[in-house]
């Protein structure tokens, strides 16, 4: 893994015995993944052939390793692996054999060797409440991130924790968790949100970086538009049911069996931007909505605190029924008070009435 020999991706592939048709096939798949039009395949092929081998450092903070799982599980040797074979993953404390000081030494070596050029991938959020909440080799997450980010070309925040603070940040956020973007402000940060994120997204980002030497176009949340450009709702195959007003009301009713829209069961598809509906999960087998469960909105900021998972999106976060009941009680009390004041004003006016006679008709001048 610490092989720092330079070379292009084309070299790597050919060394691995990849034919030109194989390479074209690979480029076709990559273009498809990056949502590039098929006409871009030759451009992609030419660029990838000459792509340089980048160094990657992967840091994990307050996280559950789900992101790493998502990325590495069952995907060897795959498209991702081709890319990953090409990159130099110089530090990943979950995956690497080395540990402790040896591992940290590897990280520092990579940082020095490729200063200003390496990509930094981060999963997990950073606790600001107390540096001791999460440390590696006795060094706080914050310190490691600041040090490592300083020499990075760009930072990829992998997963909703790194991108938005995620689960650790859920109310009341006991560790004072923050996202990478809250710490790293002077470098490009690409958020690859999701809990976990779709693995090909990171491959796509790397492919883009390798191909064009730049970062892909990003949305408002610094997420690659190619994957996060459309909402789950807009790409959902159940969308026609939403439009027709056909909804599942429970998880076992006729509507659910017929595959109707899950909006009423709390699907957060309309406000969630991700590529699940087309890329799907588990080797393209299925995805949450297809398997009968609404989208949780895991690629959106604060999804954990955005009201009940099983409440329709239009339902407010709080207990609106209770609020309304209290308000009715308060309204009746205040209304009675207002009524009392009005009656007093009116009674007083009646009391002050002085009878009008024909002698009073002219105005006092």
């Amino acid at each position: 893994m610490a092989d720092l020999t330079t070379g292009t991706l084309g070299d790597t592939l050919r060394r691995n015995g990849v034919s030109r048709r194989g390479f074209l096939k690979f480029c076709t798949a990559t273009a498809s993944m990056m949502a590039l039009p098929p006409s871009m395949v030759p451009v992609l092929a030419a660029a990838l052939d000459n792509a340089q081998r980048p160094s990657v450092i992967w840091l994990s903070f307050q996280e559950c390793t789900g992101c790493t799982e998502s990325l590495t599980r069952s995907h060897t040797p795959t498209l991702e692996s081709l890319i990953f074979d090409h990159i130099s993953l110089d530090y990943h404390h979950t995956l690497q054999v080395a540990s402790g000081h040896a591992a940290e030494a590897a990280r520092e070596a990579a940082m020095q060797a490729s200063a200003g050029k390496y990509l930094l991938v981060v999963d997990g959020s950073i606790p600001l409440g107390n540096p001791g909440f999460s440390t590696i080799a006795g060094v706080s997450n914050l310190q490691i991130l600041e040090e490592t980010a300083a020499g990075a070309a760009a930072v990829i925040a992998m997963g909703s924790c790194a991108a938005f603070g995620g689960l650790p940040k859920a109310d009341p956020n006991p560790t004072g968790a923050v996202a990478v973007r809250d710490i790293v402000t002077d470098k490009p940060v690409i958020n690859v949100s999701g809990c976990p994120p779709i693995p090909v997204v990171i491959t796509g980002v790397l492919a883009h970086y390798l191909t064009f030497g730049t970062l892909p176009e990003l949305d408002q949340y610094s997420r690659p538009k190619a994957f996060y450009g459309t909402s789950i709702h807009d790409r959902c195959y159940r969308r026609p049911f939403y439009d027709k007003g056909l909804f599942a009301n429970t998880f076992d009713d006729e509507g659910a069996k017929k595959g109707w829209c899950l909006y009423k069961l709390g699907c957060k598809g309309p406000m969630t931007y991700n590529a699940c509906a087309t890329v799907k999960w588990n080797e393209g087998t299925s995805w949450p909505v297809e398997s009968g469960h609404g989208c949780l909105g895991c690629s959106q900021p604060d999804f954990w605190d955005a009201g009940g998972f099983y409440n329709a999106l239009s339902i407010p976060v709080g207990d609106i029924s209770r609020t309304a009941s209290y308000a009715v009680a308060a309204g009746v009390a205040l209304g009675a008070a207002a009524a009392g004041i009005n009656r007093k004003t009116k009674t007083e006016a009646n009391r002050q009435h002085s009878t009008v006679t024909v002698d009073d008709l002219e105005k006092t001048s």
């Binding site: 006016a349 009646n350 009073d360 008709l361 006092t364």
Partner: protein
């Protein structure tokens, strides 16, 4: 001697705001539809005559005295106050250009009874001294002399004597225990004595016991027109006293619009107790007599006739079908105006407007609507049931150089009674 002041006016406005008024003001969304129901707007095209706008002074008092936001606005000085200048400016709108016809109240999409509010707003105008001089003078005559036109019982007695001599009929005066006590409007005494003769003819024909009351013959009530319940109460009380003294069972309102409103609807509320007698409009009585067969008519006229509904009797009084049945009885060629019954257009002289010379030019201008309505029917004769409407229409037609005879429905019925019973 007390005088009208702004303070008294504001207090009167405060008194006049009740739940309906508050509900009405809360509901207005300034859609302007009421303007289309008001002949003062349709005939002039001047938006200042939009009915709901005429209530601005009362609206301000409501908002500033009876709503939370209005009170807050007043505290921080954001509320536009009701001033003497405002009331002066609004006098024209609340008096000269409103006949209390109530047509706007019928079209308001949110259901605002605008005429109801104008009637109430006038209380504040009177108390603050912003009522028309002419109507003030009429009120004074009504209270001091007994009639807004200044006539006294002496004048009526002379007319009665004259009619009795001419017709050979008897007109009972102050007969205790009679069943029916008809009231008269002073216009009938002076301009249309035929009405008194017709009454005598009808009561005699039907064989009913009736009497006029020398102390309470005047039905008109300037207090209602100017908008002072205190004055109106005094005038209603005279009628109640007279009726109670003679122990009559029925008081019959004459062919006069606002008189019906005052004695039939506002009267009991003004004196604070239900009447010990029943109040009927003369047309209601005639229709009852027709239905029970007590009066019989003959030789229905073939002239093309149309009927003008006096607003206070029709739209605001519910006497709508009776005149139609009576017209059918005596006329075989009856034709309706396009908007009739509860949708009738006002003659333009109700609600004290005809007594107000300052309003004359405007009144004649807006009469165009009635003139057109009448002309569209192609009628040879106009029948109505209000002496005031009759005078206003006569004047209006003259202004527009239209020749058309006008008759009261009571007279028309009386003329067709079967002679020898």
């Amino acid at each position: 001697m007390s005088k009208a002041t702004l303070e008294r006016g504001l207090n009167a406005f405060r008194e006049q705001v009740d739940a309906p008024v508050a509900a009405f003001f809360s509901s207005c969304v300034s859609c302007g539809i009421c303007a289309e129901a008001c002949l003062f707007y349709t005939e002039t095209g001047d938006p200042k005559y939009t009915p709901i706008r005429k209530l601005e002074p009362l609206r301000r008092v409501w908002e500033q005295e009876y709503t939370l936001v209005g009170k807050l606005k007043k505290v921080v000085g954001l509320a536009a106050p009701v001033t003497d200048e405002l009331l002066q400016e609004w006098q024209e709108l609340l008096y000269d250009s409103c006949t209390l016809c109530g047509r706007c109240s019928m079209v308001c999409p949110v259901g605002n009874d605008i005429a109801y509010m104008v009637r109430r707003a006038r209380e504040g105008m009177v108390a603050s001294g912003n009522s028309p001089k002419d109507v003030q003078a009429a009120a004074e005559r009504a209270v001091r002399i007994g009639s807004p036109m200044g006539i006294k019982y002496k004048a009526l007695a002379a007319q009665v004597k004259h009619i009795e001599a001419d017709s050979g009929l008897t007109i009972p005066i102050d007969v205790e225990g009679a069943d029916y006590m008809p009231l008269l409007s002073s216009m009938e005494v002076i301009n249309f004595p035929e009405y008194i003769e017709s009454l005598a003819r009808i009561f005699t024909h039907a064989g009913l016991s009736w009497t006029l009351c020398s102390e309470a013959f005047e039905a008109t009530n300037t207090g209602i027109q100017i908008g002072s319940s205190d004055i109106a109460r005094e005038l209603v009380q005279r009628i109640v006293d007279g009726a109670e003294k003679l122990k009559v069972k029925y008081v019959i309102a004459p062919e006069c619009g606002h008189a019906y409103t005052s004695i039939r609807w506002e009267g009991p509320d003004l004196i604070g107790k239900p009447f010990p007698f029943k109040v009927l409009h003369i047309l209601e009585l005639l229709d009852e007599l027709r239905a029970s067969g007590r009066i019989k008519t003959e030789n229905p006229s073939h002239e093309r006739m149309t009927f003008h509904d006096p607003c206070s009797i029709g739209r605001k009084g519910g006497v709508i079908d009776a005149p139609r049945r009576l017209m059918q009885m005596v006329n075989s060629n009856f034709v309706e105006m396009q908007d009739h019954g509860k949708w009738n257009w006002c003659c333009g002289g109700g609600g004290g407007v005809s007594a107000n010379t300052e309003a004359e030019a405007l009144r004649l201008k807006v009469f165009k609507r009635k003139k057109n309505q009448i002309e569209e029917t192609g009628a040879d004769k106009l029948v109505t049931a209000c002496a005031n409407c009759r005078l206003v229409i006569e004047e209006g037609l003259e202004e527009y150089r239209v020749e058309l005879p006008i008759e009261g429905l009571t007279e028309l019925v009386a003329r067709h009674l079967v002679e020898d019973k």
